[in-house]
């Protein structure tokens, strides 16, 4: 939706031509800030990713170089983490879409007649934002730990093997990612569905389409901007997330994602070039995927 907001505001911007000196004064501080603290850091990251260890230097000492082998080295050592990041993020995005769509449809279409209820349901959707992301994830860890009521009951009912775990598995990480990003998916879906003209749906059924066909041929295409915005807003942060996959939260040693190894390399191992190279790979893959996805789904005006 942040994405969508950009697009719609852009279309309305047929502003009158006025003195550009004021425009410059208004733009300069903020744009300079972003150049200094967003663009420059990306360049710094790129330069760091090519650094080579200083000769006879300590741990964490590097010199600027053109050591592109850093990239092949991190891909070699961390390929499973890279694949896991995108695999888990994709699974969580699809799950969140399936879970959020009916919810957003109910709030945006069915609840139109009751604006107060609609408002309160929206507040409930964003309610998880008001409590720390980390504490929510920890709550799930404790609710689904081996000693928890849920897991012991499942084991007592033989629905789960007695020696099986939930936390520390890929399922737990995907579960956590899905949970944490449902509001990101629901809100953009809600905004497009809220504007959905239900007369189109009636026209579909008047033409003898089954409810399923109406949904597939009318509702889904009309809500495409929301689907694209929601999946991007879920996929991008999910691929870079390292809280859910962290050992202290829902993950285990076999579920570490790119974020975890970037954090470990940067803050613990002080291997800055490796962390930087992984970050650049993460960002590049995301930009390419997002570009292709947005082109294919035909909603280029989003960007």
């Amino acid at each position: 939706m942040a994405f969508a907001a950009f697009a719609t505001a852009e279309a309305q911007t047929q502003a009158p031509k006025r003195k550009s000196r004021i425009a410059l004064f208004l733009l300069l501080p903020g744009i300079a800030y972003l150049v200094l603290f967003f663009l420059a850091p990306l360049i710094s990251l790129l330069l760091t990713s090519l650094q080579a260890p200083r000769e006879f230097g300590d741990i964490g000492q590097f010199d600027y170089a053109f050591n592109w082998q850093n990239y092949t080295a991190v891909v070699e050592s961390y390929l499973p983490h890279i694949l896991r990041s995108f695999g888990y993020a994709l699974a969580a995005t699809l799950l969140a879409l399936v879970i959020s769509y009916p919810l957003a449809y109910f709030i945006g279409v069915k609840a139109r007649r009751w604006p107060m209820l609609q408002g309160l349901m929206l507040v409930l959707v964003i309610a998880p934002f008001f409590i720390s992301f980390l504490l929510r994830t920890l709550a799930w860890k404790q609710l689904l730990s081996d000693e928890s009521f849920v897991i012991t009951s499942l084991k007592a009912l033989s629905l789960m093997a007695p020696d099986a775990h939930f936390t520390g598995t890929p399922f737990a990480v995907i579960f956590g990612l899905t949970y944490n990003f449902i509001p990101f998916m629901t809100l953009p879906l809600y905004t497009t569905l809220e504007r959905l003209d239900t007369r189109y749906l009636e026209a579909g059924s008047d033409l003898y389409a089954s409810p399923f066909t109406v949904f597939r041929k009318v509702t889904i295409p009309l809500s495409m901007p929301g689907i694209v915005a929601g999946t991007l807003l879920t996929f991008i942060p999910a691929a870079g997330d390292y809280i859910n996959a962290s050992r202290d939260f829902l993950g285990g040693t076999e579920t570490q994602m790119m974020g975890n190894v970037i954090e470990a390399n940067f803050l613990v191992l002080l291997n800055y070039p490796a962390a930087a190279a992984l970050s650049i790979i993460l960002m590049a893959v995301i930009l390419v995927l997002v570009g292709v996805y947005v082109k294919r789904s035909g909603t280029e005006e989003l960007l």
Binding site: L45, Y179, M283
Partner: protein, 297 residues
């Protein structure tokens, strides 16, 4: 971006236009069948799922726990009454830092972002699309990349990490969200109001400060709230740029391995209740205002 990104939409909506155009007439009356119950029932289950961890955190803020807060040991108000007594007040210290950082980042980001939004809507200039891209990219970049990038830059320049570097980092990722929120509000302003101000011989400055700015205030407030929420709950970017300074999320992350004291649940629950009250009041007054307008029209 971190958790509260999407609140942008809702907050922007709270601040924005009252008029809704659903473009539909009420659905035809039909026999009530299974399909009509399925969706509401599903919605209820989905909300229960969304709210479980919140309820858990709240309930365990009353747990008479010892060091770590994992199993239920009995009900007490003690943790609410003595929040700062644990670990020499480490939780409260972290919480205080988060508040200070949140306010500083909010003030800077809201000022810079509002200025950009005004320029984007009201003026024509070259390099417009480049600027839009520059504003869009921070929202499309994973936090771990933003955090590592800034940390690499601070390292290269030799800046030590402290409170200032956290504020600089938070301001950076808040600006784009402020621009989006405020821009939506400016675009929905009725130009006739400003024209009326000019017709009454208001100077451009008078028109801006006495007409435009008051009309923008709800949008600016929404943007400020969003910035604060983004900053307050940010962990990933903070983790890369904080050095030894603790913030509330960082405190939770570090204590996760040895168990979180119930006092952290108290602080999180209090913040939750405060934010919820704020949003409910805004939402209710908005619905009431829309109803009044509908009656007038």
């Amino acid at each position: 971006m971190s958790g509260e990104v999407q609140a942008a939409a809702v907050l922007g909506d709270l601040a924005g236009s009252e008029a809704r155009d659903p473009g539909s007439r009420p659905p035809r009356r039909r026999r009530i069948g299974l399909g009509d119950w399925l969706l509401p029932a599903y919605t209820i289950i989905a909300f229960v799922f969304l709210l479980i961890p919140i309820v858990y955190t709240f309930v365990f803020s009353f747990n008479d726990s010892l060091k770590s807060n994992i199993s239920w040991r009995g009900f007490t108000f003690d943790k609410w009454l003595n929040v700062c007594n644990v670990e020499g007040g480490a939780v409260c210290q972290a919480f205080g830092n988060s508040i200070v950082i949140g306010i500083a980042a909010t003030v800077i980001a809201t000022t810079l972002g509002t200025m950009i939004a005004l320029a984007l809507v009201r003026y024509r200039f070259r390099a417009r699309s480049a600027i839009s891209l520059l504003l869009f990219l921070p929202m499309a970049t994973p936090e771990v990349v933003l955090g590592a990038g800034l940390a690499a830059q601070f390292l290269a320049v030799g800046v030590p990490k402290d409170m200032t570097t956290i504020i600089l980092a938070h301001t950076m990722f808040c600006i784009s969200f402020v621009v989006v929120t405020v821009k939506a509000r400016i675009s929905s302003l009725d130009p006739a109001l400003e024209e009326a101000g000019r017709d009454l011989y208001g100077s451009p400055a008078q028109v801006f400060w006495r007409v435009t700015f008051p009309l923008l205030t709800p949008g600016i407030l929404a943007a400020a709230l969003l910035s604060f929420a983004l900053s307050f709950d940010d962990f990933i970017i903070t983790n890369f740029n904080s050095g030894s300074v603790s913030t509330f999320p960082k405190y939770v992350y570090i204590s996760a391995s040895r168990g979180i004291p119930a006092e952290a649940n108290v602080i999180a629950s209090a913040v939750f209740l405060f934010a919820l009250a704020l949003v409910v009041v805004a939402q209710v007054s908005r619905t009431a205002r829309a109803k009044r307008l509908a009656q007038l029209g």
